[in-house]
Amino acid sequence: MRLRITFAKTGALRYTGHLDLHKIWERTLRRAGLPLAYSQGFHPQPKIQIAAALPLGFLGREEIVDIWLETNDSPPPPPDSLQSAAPPGLTILRVEPVPERAPALQTQIAAAEYQVTLLEAGGGSDLERRVADLLAKETLPRERRGKSYDLRPLIQTLACRGASLDMILSAGEGATGRPEEVLDELGIPPETTRIERTRLILKPAIE
């Protein structure tokens, strides 16, 4: 049985990276007593797929993970039973079965929505103008690891709300916008912000 779990990652878990999050899921599911399916081979690994790596330091409001269990018929476990096995900072929002053969979760992400809180007062003084200027540009040429690319088309939406910024950035293969890059274009040092990924937007399911 394949289950899709929607969860929030907050608190101290903000500083737990992607690989370590795998381990946290494995242990949480073991504590919950679920019969995790393992890969074959000499070093069996539990079958856990996290939709999209959440960069270290980001909070996640609605993250997604797929897990595989060895049972097929039983109803999915209620979120409460998983919650009681979860460490502080991991909040289980929904648990739902998905078709076994649905495409890998990682390939289904179209975009991600972020909310950036500015921690330093004053950082946002002429922010609205800077946001408008940025959106008015046709292109935003940048470099990432020696490769040049255009950030502008990856910004689907960007809006300023008081001391925070909301944005939706594309997240396809080879074309992922990063909130730090947008902040950099706006002249805001990322360490003066708190970034929360509020939602992952999946591609429409193909029937």
Binding site: R30, L119, P190, E191
Partner: protein, 653 residues
Amino acid sequence: MLSPAEIEARLERVLLTVQKPGRYVGGELHSVVKDWESTAVRMVFVFPDIYDIGVSNLGLQILYDRVNARPDALAERAYLPWIDMEERMRANGIPLYSLESKHALADFDLIGFSLPYETLYTNVLNALDLAGLPLRSAERNDSHPLVIAGGHACFNPEPMSAFIDAFVIGEGEEVIHEIMDTVGKFAGRTVSKFTGLQAHMSERANAPTFKRVNALKELAKIPGVYVPRFYDVTYFDDGTIRAVTPNIPEAPQVILKRMVAQLPPPPTRFLVPNIDIVHNRLAIEIMRGCTRGCRFCHAGMITRPVRERSVDEIVAAAEAALQATGIEELALLSLSSSDYTSILDLVTAISEKFAGRHLTVSLPSLRIDTVSLDLMERLKDRRAGGFTLAPEAASERMRRIINKFIPDEQILTTARAIYARGWTTLKLYFMIGHPSETLEDVQAIADLCKRVLAEGRRALGGRAKLHAGVSTFIPKPHTPFQWAAMDTEAQIRLKQDLLKRQLRDRNLKLSWTEPPETLLEAWLSRGDRRLGEVILAAWQNGAKFDAWGDQLRFEAWTSAFAACGLDPAFYTHRPRRPDEIFPWDHIASGVRKKYLLEDYRRSLEGQTRLDCRENCYACGILPTFADERRAHPGPYWKCPEVKSPTKARSGVQ
């Protein structure tokens, strides 16, 4: 001091600029966060190395559980920041803080350092400094927390005696409660049924009745607690000790270690870290103490008597710990697993109970015989593909001297079987520098390694691998070898070079301890009170993380010795008179000094003493702990039964 909220706000600005920020935030499953305001006694445990190493320390896990089980007390944790984080903390005025409530260490009533080994000492000074506390015990006043330390290294507390207010000698499970009771009086907060907690931090400084020195006197009265300021040390002209004398009536002449007659149930609610750490495992102690009597082994001497847990208790604890944590590896710990009486029953029970649950079980410290293979096969511990054995010496003469006598043939037979049953890597541990060792004895290590690898080639061809780990002997306090001089740096290098020359093979990996690491550990292990100034000077010269080979700054130490006018060779390369008073002689492990000396003499004559559970050699443990043995009869202790009527505890030396 900054408030927890201020500390948290500053942390948020720096955490994303350091490596592995998850080290600095706590929030682990099973960490205990109690209400600060309504808890009367507040302590923080500090493991003086980074989180990755400290968080899995079993001793601290045990004590953390025990203090937090008390309704009147809370225990939090702190670890040393790695160099990048230390730099950010100092630059941003962030004091060392606890992971649970983010209180500055200075806000606690008691700071408890864990000192399992000596190369943590400069980190202790660094921790006190990062906490904004005066380093010297004498300079701290009633507004500062009490600072205690415990762990194996504290069996020679003298080198750190200027910085630590009180040392706990021996096992902490019971004495921690007596300490917390005393610290509670020092803290001066009382909880009233009607109005809640009465006094607050600021009042500690004003509490008229129970000042720091009273608290220390009370602590000195607790058996097993050593308060160095209540002892004076005098020296002979040659620098050796003339006498160690208590200077208040409350301080006992000899501080006998604490020993828990009945091992309490093992902890099961292990902290589950949110990041990868060094030992990702549940550790359950199956037995404490060791009856083998290897003459170089500090742990084997100071943890006597042997006490075992029952198979049922261990299996139940493993089950509970697994359910509580979901951790995928279980280590069954002891100094000598093969000596656990029901080892086969235990291994069978564990392997049956946890079959199919994706649990890796490790059983370190196995004897060199084929029974060990059967045990390992039952546990299917082939994850790393390796099998570890510790012959320690390779010539017959040396094996008699160190009292670990395993004939070559037994080692080769075992190695043959290990390779034949499919383990591709065998790891052998040796030690060079044993008393009276010559180059021939070292050559024997090289020869044995070659013969073992040849066995591997016969069974597996080119796939067979051998890893030889060679450490260097240190004449540790409280062991029969405490009278021996250790090798000089030149001697050590000569021996290591021989091995490096001889053991050149694609399938043979040789690793060794660099002489500076060994020498530093030796000085710190054997030091007296005067070494405190050297430790301080070395820390001021930038020494920290000395246990990390790549961080050790040897010149910081050599120049510290020079600045203090002390010769390091005095501590390590000098043979001792039989009647020399050692800096640690007023600390008693329960094994008599006379027994150790006699055993040292036997060693020089090549006489071994086999497992004492077969034949008690009267090491001193039984008369010292006769009451405890009488109260706990039966096979659970491995010393003989005591039938004689109770008499008062006699002198220990």
